[in-house]
């Protein structure tokens, strides 16, 4: 697993719904890993143009050699250089083909260079025969916010390797849009890692009804990561979040109530006051019996409800 994917995964795991203090930060970290942002390179001291051109030429020459350490060094130099030309050089070298052990550093270099022009080279690598390389390429497309990569990532959701599928689901979190939802639901149904979280990051308030329809017998446990994702997004309107709270109250199941309590607990001191109030009121009403709690999977006796 490449480091940018690993980085995003770590954050995702830390921001799971059980950890109340972290879940509200999810939208902020779900976009792109810090390593992939241009800001990461701004600390490098700017080089004079002539010197940079010379460094670029030297790195390009070393990239063209058949020497493994020289190619690695060139990739490191180019990723530090941070220019379109550097990215093009790495892309061109990848296009020519590299031994497997050099492809990973080359992908890393492209992510560090963070140039959209790298997308075609990475798209080609999503067809590489080795699954770890496909997974790295897919993760890199997500890290680069390559919007044109959505289709390739949807393909990758169907990859024979679970590593690639998980990477694709995660990458769609940054480059996907609502068109990806049907495939992501199919992936979630087949247990693809991160698919539910990604759905939560892409769904709109209009999708709420279809999402709740998947809560069988009012048990929201299977769709909880989706709801968490929606509630954690800054881009998700407050009215949409209120609709989620209202829908859970309406469901009135034990799992729905537990979720509301969890959210209220997480937002005790911070978060939107309107949401806090809505959560508080919803739980209060549920406890007061205005909306009786439905016990999922509890058989009734003697035909009584």
């Amino acid at each position: 697993m490449s480091r940018y994917l690993g980085h995003a995964l770590t954050i995702l795991v830390a921001s799971s719904c059980a950890v109340g203090t972290a879940w509200a930060q999810l939208p902020a970290v779900a976009v792109a890993p810090a390593a992939a942002t241009p800001a990461a390179h701004t600390s490098n001291a700017p080089k004079p143009d002539a010197a940079r051109a010379q460094v670029l030429r030297t790195a390009q020459e070393r990239l063209a050699t058949g020497d493994d350490p020289a190619v690695r060094a060139a990739l490191a130099t180019l990723s530090e250089l941070g220019s379109d030309a550097a990215a093009d050089s790495v892309s061109a070298r990848l296009h020519r083909g590299l031994p497997p052990q050099l492809i990973e550093p080359a992908i890393d270099a492209l992510v560090l260079l963070n140039r959209p022009s790298a997308a075609p080279a990475l798209l080609e690598l999503t067809q590489y025969r080795r699954a770890p390389i496909r997974a790295s390429a897919v993760a890199a497309l997500g890290a680069l916010h390559a919007r044109t990569a959505q289709s390739a990532l949807l393909y990758a959701l169907d990859d024979p390797s679970s590593e690639v599928r998980a990477a694709a689901a995660l990458a769609l979190m940054t480059v996907g849009n609502a068109r990806a939802l049907p495939a992501l639901w199919a992936a979630a149904d087949r247990g693809v890692e991160h698919a539910l979280q990604t759905i939560g990051s892409l769904a709109t308030p209009a999708d709420l009804k279809s999402i709740l329809a998947r809560a069988r017998e009012a048990d929201i446990t299977p769709i909880k990561p989706v709801l968490q994702g929606m509630m954690g997004r800054k881009s998700f309107a407050t009215s949409g979040k209120l609709a989620v709270i209202h829908a859970l109250e309406k469901l009135g199941s034990a799992s729905a109530r537990a979720c509301l309590v969890e959210w209220l607990d997480a937002w005790k001191t911070e978060g939107d006051p309107a949401l806090r109030k809505a959560l508080f009121d919803a739980i209060k009403r549920l406890d007061a019996g205005h909306a009786p709690i439905k016990l999922e999977s509890v058989p009734t006796k003697g035909g009584k409800p």
């Binding site: 058949g66 020497d67 190619v71 497997p100 080609e124 067809q127 025969r129 044109t148 949807l154 024979p160």
Partner: protein, 724 residues
């Protein structure tokens, strides 16, 4: 060579044992040994036996020995600790039990005699009230023994320091094979050796009497006649049914010097059964058939040639058989006794009421009343054709049957019907199937020359994790497509080449097939594979596929891909062997094309493909065919061509892979080369596809830029001619 009578190696032991010597009387009368001609004459005269029709078997938990009279029902049931299969001989049952080699009374099941408490049962025979039993020991001296049991107990017993085979009783004589090549004739009355015959040319391990005739042998059977006894040194011609390779390699006759296997031994469920017959021409195989029992499978094989007559499958393992003229008794472990006719149909069946480990069936001359009168009707029938029978056997879901099912596949593949291709495709692609069956099916699928629509249909299937559909067997299908010259399979093969679900081992056949099909349009895809993977280490599993892909580029004269090949030859990160293959591909690419097979018209153009649509009321088409996709994309052709044109960099075509759901909605678009993606995707999204019954499909469509169309090429050529 015949030995003089009276030369008897057992006598010392005999006297020591004191069980066979004549009793001591006041008047001594020297025993009279019959003259050799008399022995030979009596021994070889047919003496048919009158035997009670019975089945004797060892049941599963609890272990019991049961006997059934075929005409009357259960005779008796005794708790036993069986260490071998039972043998029904004369009016007794002989079996290795915890107490030793035990002879029981057939009528009551009571123990008549314990022949030996140290040895292992090797074989037995009987006639009337007499039983002869041979025993093997683990010791060097003695290594074997022969015992004679009459109605009251052991009359005599002869130990020997050489191994003893399966004996037989013929009249007043006991015939004993021993020491691999020797046959001795003993007097039934006291065990004296009356004759000894050394067969230097063959192995003798069994002596047996069938319908009164005496036979001996191991690798085949020799009719014991005066001539064969008088000239044992002569080359003997043994009779056997035709020998052939069979699954599990069961022998035609079990090794006559080895003890009988325990009741649960697989030997009892994996056997060849045949019965010696006799005609004017000499020995033959009864019914001209032998039967291969393979657990739940029963193959009826021709005795004279390597052919299967019929195959039947059963719910339970077969644990015993007996061959009758024109019929076969089989007993399965579920406790059902069946009488099968020569076509495999069940004429008669009876539930014995016990589950069984092993049985010995001795029907004698008995037949069920209806069958005897010829008025019985078949109650269970095998599938009507041998092809269907073989397919049913090959598809039987039982992992123990791997070799048997593979044997069925081997014979199934001999049929040239297109349906067999479909059967082989299913077997080759089956996920949970024993490896020998799959290997056989895939190997024969690659050789098929009929069933083209099935091959194309199978290639249309795509592996999908989300839809839980497995990958088809791309390698064998590609080979079959190449053999059938299915040009329409080309694009499908290309899409499989780009699919990571296609196993690396299948890529070799795939690239070779593209080469053999002359699919120049596949060159770009092959080039991409080569370009991406050429620096894989020499030990990589992709090595053979790379070699095949490089060869295909050369053979297809893919001049547009020359730059990639040249680049590989100079790339020092590429293994030397791959660089050499690239050089060879360049040489092939530059070589003058042979007779332009590649440009030959397709044997069956894709446009001509007609999808066999079953009769049904749903108006939706079953699936999106290539034709439907072309029609749907036709209005967008101009725009798409512009994308290719605008791509530059020598791009003259592109490949669009689509995922379209059952409602005709485009779920995903993947364009290669990737530089076309941004331009092509929004255009293709506007395409309108019809809803289908099949559901989600993956489709591939090739885009051509205006400069790549044949029409424009033709036009430019025509213009050039005019200018001239």
């Amino acid at each position: 060579m015949s030995a003089p009578l009276g030369r008897f190696p057992f006598c010392a032991c005999l006297l020591a044992l004191g069980c066979a010597a004549p009793s001591f009387r006041p008047q001594f009368k020297p025993p009279v040994a019959p003259a050799q001609p008399v022995v030979l004459s009596e021994l070889t005269r047919p003496k048919p036996r009158d035997e009670r029709p019975v089945v004797v078997g060892v049941t599963t938990d609890p272990m019991r020995l049961c006997a059934w009279d075929l005409s009357a029902g259960l005779l008796w049931e005794r708790p036993v600790s069986a260490k071998s299969a039972p043998l029904v001989v004369a009016d007794a049952v002989v079996m290795q039990e915890a107490e030793g080699v035990v002879v029981r009374d057939l009528t009551s099941g009571e123990v008549r005699a314990v022949v030996d408490d140290k040895g292992s049962l090797v074989g037995a025979d009987g006639q009337g009230h007499s039983v002869v039993v041979s025993v093997a020991y683990d010791t060097q001296n003695p290594r074997g023994a022969v015992a004679y049991v009459d109605g009251s107990g052991v009359r005599w017993k002869q130990p020997l320091n050489l191994p003893v085979g399966v004996p037989a009783i013929s009249g007043e004589y006991v015939v004993v094979p021993w020491a691999t090549q020797r046959l001795s004739v003993l007097a039934a009355s006291d065990g004296r050796e009356l004759g000894r015959y050394h067969y230097k040319d063959t192995v003798v391990a069994h002596a047996l009497v069938d319908r009164g005739r005496l036979y001996a042998g191991q690798l085949g059977l020799l009719r014991v006649t005066e001539t064969t006894l008088e000239h044992p040194e002569a080359k003997q011609s043994l009779y056997t049914p035709r020998k052939r390779e069979l699954p599990g390699q069961p022998p035609l006759l079990r090794d006559g010097y080895l003890p009988i296997a325990d009741p649960d031994n697989a030997y009892h469920r994996l056997q060849v059964s045949w019965r010696i017959g006799h005609s004017e021409a000499g020995p033959s195989t009864e019914n001209d058939m032998l039967w291969l029992r393979f657990y739940r499978l029963l193959f009826a094989l021709s005795a004279t040639d390597d052919q299967i007559r019929w195959v039947r499958t059963f719910d339970h393992d077969l644990v015993g058989t007996a061959i009758q003229p024109g019929a076969l008794f089989v007993v399965d472990s579920g406790g059902t006794l069946r009488l099968l006719d020569m076509g495999g149909a069940t004429l008669f069946s009876r539930d014995l009421g016990r589950t069984l480990r092993v049985v010995d069936v001795r029907p004698g001359a008995w037949l069920p009343p209806m069958a005897a009168q010829g008025t019985s009707s078949a109650t269970e029938l095998p599938p009507p054709t041998l092809r269907q029978q073989l397919n049913a056997a090959a598809a039987l879901d039982d992992d123990r049957l791997g070799a048997g099912r593979a044997y069925a596949v081997e014979h199934l593949a001999a049929f040239s019907e297109p349906d067999v291709t479909a059967n082989l495709i299913a077997l080759c692609a089956a996920r949970k199937i024993p490896q020998p069956v799959q290997s056989a099916a895939c190997a024969h699928l690659a050789e098929r020359s009929s069933g083209a629509p099935d091959v194309v249909q199978a290639l249309r299937q795509r592996a999908s994790f989300l839809d839980d559909t497995p990958a088809p067997s791309v390698g064998p299908l590609a080979q079959a497509a190449a053999k059938m010259q299915l040009k329409q399979a080309g694009p499908l093969l290309v899409s499989h080449a780009e699919d990571p679900s296609t196993p690396a081992r299948d890529l070799v056949a795939l690239f070779t097939a593209l080469e053999q099909l002359g699919q120049r349009s596949a060159a770009a895809s092959i080039e991409r594979f080569v370009r991406l993977h050429h620096a894989e280490p020499e030990s990589s599993e992709l090595g053979p596929a790379l070699a095949a892909a490089l060869h295909a580029l050369g053979a297809l004269h893919a001049r547009a891909q020359r730059a990639t090949l040249e680049d590989i030859t100079t790339d020092t990160l590429t293994p030397p062997s791959t660089r050499e293959q690239a050089r060879a591909a360049l040489a092939l690419l530059d070589a003058p094309a042979a007779v332009a097979k590649a440009d030959a018209p397709p044997s069956k153009p894709e446009e001509d493909e007609v999808e066999a649509d079953e009769t049904q009321t749903d108006p939706r088409p079953y699936s999106l065919t290539a034709d439907v996709v072309r029609k749907a994309l036709a209005p967008l052709h101009a725009e798409l061509s512009k994308c290719v044109q605008a791509a530059g960099g020598g791009v003259r075509s592109g490949r669009v892979s689509l995922v379209v759901d059952g409602q005709g909605r485009v779920e995903g678009i993947f364009v290669l080369p990737a530089t076309l993606q941004a331009c092509v995707e929004p255009i293709v999204r506007n395409a309108k596809f019809p809803a289908t019954r099949l559901g989600r499909q993956r489709l591939t469509h090739i885009l051509h830029g205006p400069s790549a169309t044949r029409a424009s090429l033709r036009a430019s050529r025509a213009l050039a001619k005019k200018k001239k």
